[in-house]
């Protein structure tokens, strides 16, 4: 039988160390919602989402009460809209209509984000893909809950540099259109290399075309729990440290497994994956930067940071895979700057630069995340930053991403407030040398040599 110490341990993780289930995300295929025109497609989309996800929020709350664990977000991901709207959308405004109906459906279901206003263009763009990408600024400016993503590269296909160039321009335009709202549109857009089909986390969640009609994916988080666990082994060697992180990751993932199974049963929807990610929030004690400091760095960004993060990420995955047979591809540590107080402190102290973050993304879960840069940064420079990050993903066969916010009217020394879970970000300096001629070449970067595994 369970002992009192085990009960106390679990409850302390929840109450004092911010252990929570970060999100239950319902993935819904919209491929059967393609109608004869925009209006009928929109009607079918609204109908399908609000039917399948009507009990999602209630179910999440019920599970939360039953086990006494907070479930912070309930979200929906859908089939990339470029595929769904491809045959009916003839203009960017047609696509924006679909974005609006997604927003309305999200409101009706009570979820806080809906992801999948996306295009998969890692090798080339169809006319619909390009229209969707061009519609992103307006779509994000005229909706509140819609999240957008574009996959512009993969290890198997190389990098679509035409798309990378276009996206640099679109990010600038999105920032301009939402400048009165702290350029919030850019916080809802992410560009990927090797995007996974079953990601439960926003802003990059979409329901891949290889998935079943409807699935439940769960994201668990708990940087505070890991931090508290490694506090107990301060000064001890790496073997002890790794063992501690692994055991903690196991425990956290088991909770996710329980919630995922329960949600899947209650909603009568198959369970997809659990993503165990150390995803920080601006709350004190819920920070990945803090874990890095506890490992022994004065600030995140100090020499040794990349090694510490690589070790952390690997132990989290090792603990997680033992706890569930279906662990998602993104599991590991997220390092969004604005959402993590200790990362913000590291930037302000001058310890953490964009270049060091780029190195860290080689070994962490995703990529350059929630980074604010000066508003006058050129579109080609943004494309250059994206291209670098895509190259890291392509060569290292991992998922990488960029979520970057050119803060219009602001410069290094200022900060931009997003509020809520998105936090605030100091504006980081960007390398001012030009990459115009590189970005303007056009075409695509071929797949790397190690993609020829056959």
């Amino acid at each position: 039988m369970i002992s009192i110490n085990e009960v106390i341990e679990t409850n302390e993780m929840i109450q004092k160390m911010n252990l929570d289930v970060r999100t239950i995300t319902m993935g819904i295929s919209l491929l059967d919602c393609i109608g004869s025109d925009v209006k009928s497609t929109c009607d079918k989309i609204y109908e399908k989402i609000t039917t399948l996800a009507k009990d999602l929020v209630y179910t999440g709350e019920e599970i939360s009460r039953k086990y006494g664990i907070p479930i912070v977000n309930k979200r929906i991901s859908v089939t990339p809209i470029a595929l769904v709207g491809g045959s009916v959308c003839k203009t960017t405004d047609d696509f924006v209509e679909i974005a609006k109906i997604l927003d309305k459906a999200a409101d009706a279901c009570g979820v806080n984000f809906i992801g999948g206003y996306s295009a998969l263009v890692s090798k080339g763009m169809t006319a619909a893909d390009e229209l969707l990408i061009r519609s992103i600024p307006k779509a994000l400016a005229s909706t509140g809950k819609v999240c957008s993503s574009v996959n512009t590269g993969s290890t198997k296909t190389g990098i679509n540099m035409d798309a990378v160039k276009l996206i640099g321009e679109m990010i600038k335009e999105t920032a301009e259109l939402t400048k009165d709202d702290n350029c919030m549109g850019c916080a809802k857009f992410v560009v990927f290399c090797n995007a996974p089909d079953d990601n439960p986390f926003m802003a990059g969640a979409f329901h891949g075309v290889t998935e079943a009609d409807c699935i439940i994916n769960v994201g668990v988080s708990g940087p505070g729990v890991v931090k508290a666990a490694i506090e107990t082994v301060r000064g001890q060697n790496f073997e002890v440290l790794c063992e501690t992180i692994k055991k903690t990751a196991f425990k956290i993932t088991r909770v996710g497994q329980l919630v995922a199974k329960e949600a899947s049963k209650m909603l009568n929807v198959p369970f997809g994956i659990i993503d165990l990610s150390l995803a920080p929030t601006p709350a004190v004690g819920d920070s990945v930067g803090e874990i890095l400091e506890e490992i022994g760095l004065e600030y995140a960004g100090a020499p040794g940071t990349t090694a510490a993060l690589a070790m952390l990420n690997d132990q989290v995955k090792k603990g997680g895979v033992m706890a569930s047979s279906y662990v998602g591809g993104l599991s590991g540590a997220f390092i969004p700057v604005s959402e993590d107080q200790k990362m913000i402190d590291a930037v302000n102290a001058g310890a953490l630069s964009l270049e060091k973050l780029e190195a860290m993304t080689c070994v962490c879960s995703v990529g350059l995340d929630m980074i604010a840069i000066p508003g006058d940064t050129k579109a080609t420079t943004i494309s250059g930053i994206i291209a670098d990050e895509m190259a890291l993903g392509m060569i290292n066969q991992k998922t990488t991403a960029v979520r970057i916010i050119p803060a219009i009217g602001k410069d290094v020394g200022d900060q931009v407030e997003f509020g809520g879970l998105l936090g605030y970000a100091p504006i980081m300096p960007v390398n001012r040398f030009s990459c115009d001629a590189f970005v303007n070449r056009g075409g695509r970067i071929p797949a790397p040599i190690h993609s020829f595994k056959n």
């Binding site: 369970i2 341990e9 409850n11 425990k251």
Partner: protein
């Protein structure tokens, strides 16, 4: 049998266990095990109970116990056993 773990956390005083036990017996909830300890000066009690025969569902049990906890100046909360099993047993 579906087991529920009830935890009581707070400053120790006379009659906490008695009050909780009376509530449970009135609602036909069987106590299987009780353990208690002091952590950081705070009273911690855990009860393993079987609520299968009770007419109360989990939500109303939680509400009632929270109310009882307020009267006693402690925090009382029921959680289904699976969360502890999953976390601590392979």
């Amino acid at each position: 049998m579906k087991k529920t773990i009830i935890t009581v956390l707070g400053k120790d005083r006379v009659g906490i266990i008695a009050k909780v036990c009376v509530y449970l017996s009135e609602n036909n909830i069987n106590i299987l095990d009780i353990a208690q300890t002091i952590v950081d000066g705070y009273f911690n009690m855990m009860m393993v109970v079987d609520a299968t025969a009770s007419t109360k569902d989990h939500d109303s049990l939680a509400d009632d116990l929270a109310k009882l906890g307020d009267e006693l100046g402690v925090q009382i909360k029921p959680q289904r056993e699976e969360i502890f099993d999953m976390m601590h047993r392979i």
